[in-house]
């Protein structure tokens, strides 16, 4: 079971004489150069275009949001305005209704008063007429009664 260990050791020590884990050579500067190149390539292919896209979008969102906020404010202003107008109109309507009610009330009262006055007047009139007729009738009755009485007296007395 130790064969793999031996194998590993053989790989590490034997093989080429200059091998090993910490074998520094020209790979190092070339790799550094490669990474620097990659940085520039990625900068132009990745970081700049994607950054531009993201920042453009952020700008777009910011301006859209500002516009939306302005529009919202405007709408709210309009709404408040309309609400104010509506309130005014409602008050006015109430006033008109109240006026009309008062008017009709007044007219009703006036008409009522006139009618009542008329009624009273015609009642008084009728009563005075009735009184006059009654007095006249009573007078006529009295005269008839007196005449009849005289007649009766005259018929009875000569017989005695």
């Amino acid at each position: 079971m130790t064969s793999w260990l031996l194998l590993a050791e053989a790989g590490a020590t034997a093989g080429s004489p200059e091998g090993g884990l910490f074998d520094l050579d020209a790979t190092l500067p070339l790799m550094a150069l490669q990474v620097v190149l990659l940085t520039f390539i990625l900068n132009s292919l990745f970081f700049r275009p994607v950054g531009k896209a993201v920042e453009d979008r952020e700008g777009y969102i910011t301006t859209s949001r500002t516009q939306a906020k302005e529009q919202l404010a405007q709408a709210e202003r309009l709404e408040a305005d309309l609400r104010e107008q509506l309130r005014g109109a409602r008050l006015e309507a109430q006033k008109v209704i109240q006026d009309a009610e008062q008017d009709s009330d007044r007219l009703y009262r006036e008409a009522m008063a006139v009618a009542q006055a008329d009624a009273i007047a015609s009642r008084e009139n009728a009563r005075s007429k009735i009184d006059a007729q009654r007095a006249e009738a009573l007078g006529a009755l009295k005269a008839d009664a007196d005449r009849l009485a005289d007649l009766i007296v005259a018929r009875l007395l000569p017989a005695s």
Partner: protein
């Protein structure tokens, strides 16, 4: 000590063997460059596909790229500061992406299918040359950032808050790249070794949790490297408020 009854095709540990390419008088590790080209190619392919048609309503790969960009910008902005982060975002971002894709590529791409005459393909970050190169780039970057932003006033940083700090700060300039490079190198190499040893001993199922752990540490290492690089640059460009 009985010899194995059959030859295991799964894993043979090859530590410290390299595929040497001769370049003039110098030797370079071919397998590191091969795998790094695969990694860079994959990275560039994703980036090119994702930025081909940029739209205001992102979809598909553009979404992923924008998420990455946002993530990297947050790292850069948090550690470098609002004023200077734009200059350094590509560097920090490239470090993160290169290390992250290298680490995950080392773990996820079946490199074993490619046979090299010597050495084996793997994560480019499992080679000490790569990590030292990255760490030295970070050192250069923070010196350059400090000097270009503050001129020679940058060296005030070494005697702040008191001159007693001078030797410690000088030592720090050496320990920063050392710790950066060895942390990354050690973690990635150790991860590959552990997976290789486990796969050698028990080829099925058992290495899986360790592989997942390896993916996790790989991502963390990329994040740590990028974050520390950003922090060092931020430290260099930081203005003391008197």
């Amino acid at each position: 000590m009985a010899p194995l009854p059959f030859a295991l095709p799964f894993a043979a540990l090859e530590v410290g063997q390299h595929l040497y390419w001769q370049l003039g008088h110098y030797k370079i590790h071919g397998q590191v460059f091969l795998s790094s080209w695969v990694v860079i190619g994959a990275l560039l392919a994703v980036v090119v596909i994702g930025t081909r048609r940029m739209e205001r309503d992102p979809s598909g790969v553009q979404n992923l790229l924008e998420f990455l960009w946002d993530y990297l910008r947050d790292i850069a902005r948090e550690y470098i500061g609002e004023k200077a982060y734009r200059d350094w975002l590509p560097f920090i971002g490239t470090l993160f992406l290169f290390i992250f894709v290298s680490n995950w590529g080392g773990a996820l791409i079946p490199w074993k299918l490619v046979h090299l005459p010597s050495g084996e393909l793997g994560a480019p970050t499992a080679d000490i040359n790569t990590t030292i190169a990255l760490a030295l780039l970070v050192s250069l970057a923070y010196f350059y950032a400090g000097l270009s932003r503050k001129g020679f006033r940058y060296f005030e940083y070494y005697v702040e808050p008191t001159p007693i700090m001078l030797p410690f700060k000088i030592v720090e300039d050496f320990t920063k790249p050392l710790s950066l490079s060895f942390r990354l190198f050690g973690n990635i190499l150790a991860d590959e070794l552990v997976v290789a040893v486990l796969a050698f001993l028990v080829p099925l199922v058992v290495p899986l949790p360790v592989m997942f752990l390896g993916l996790f540490t790989s991502a963390i290492q990329a994040l740590i490297f990028a974050t520390l690089a950003a922090y060092y640059i931020g430290e260099a460009v930081h203005e003391e408020h008197h």
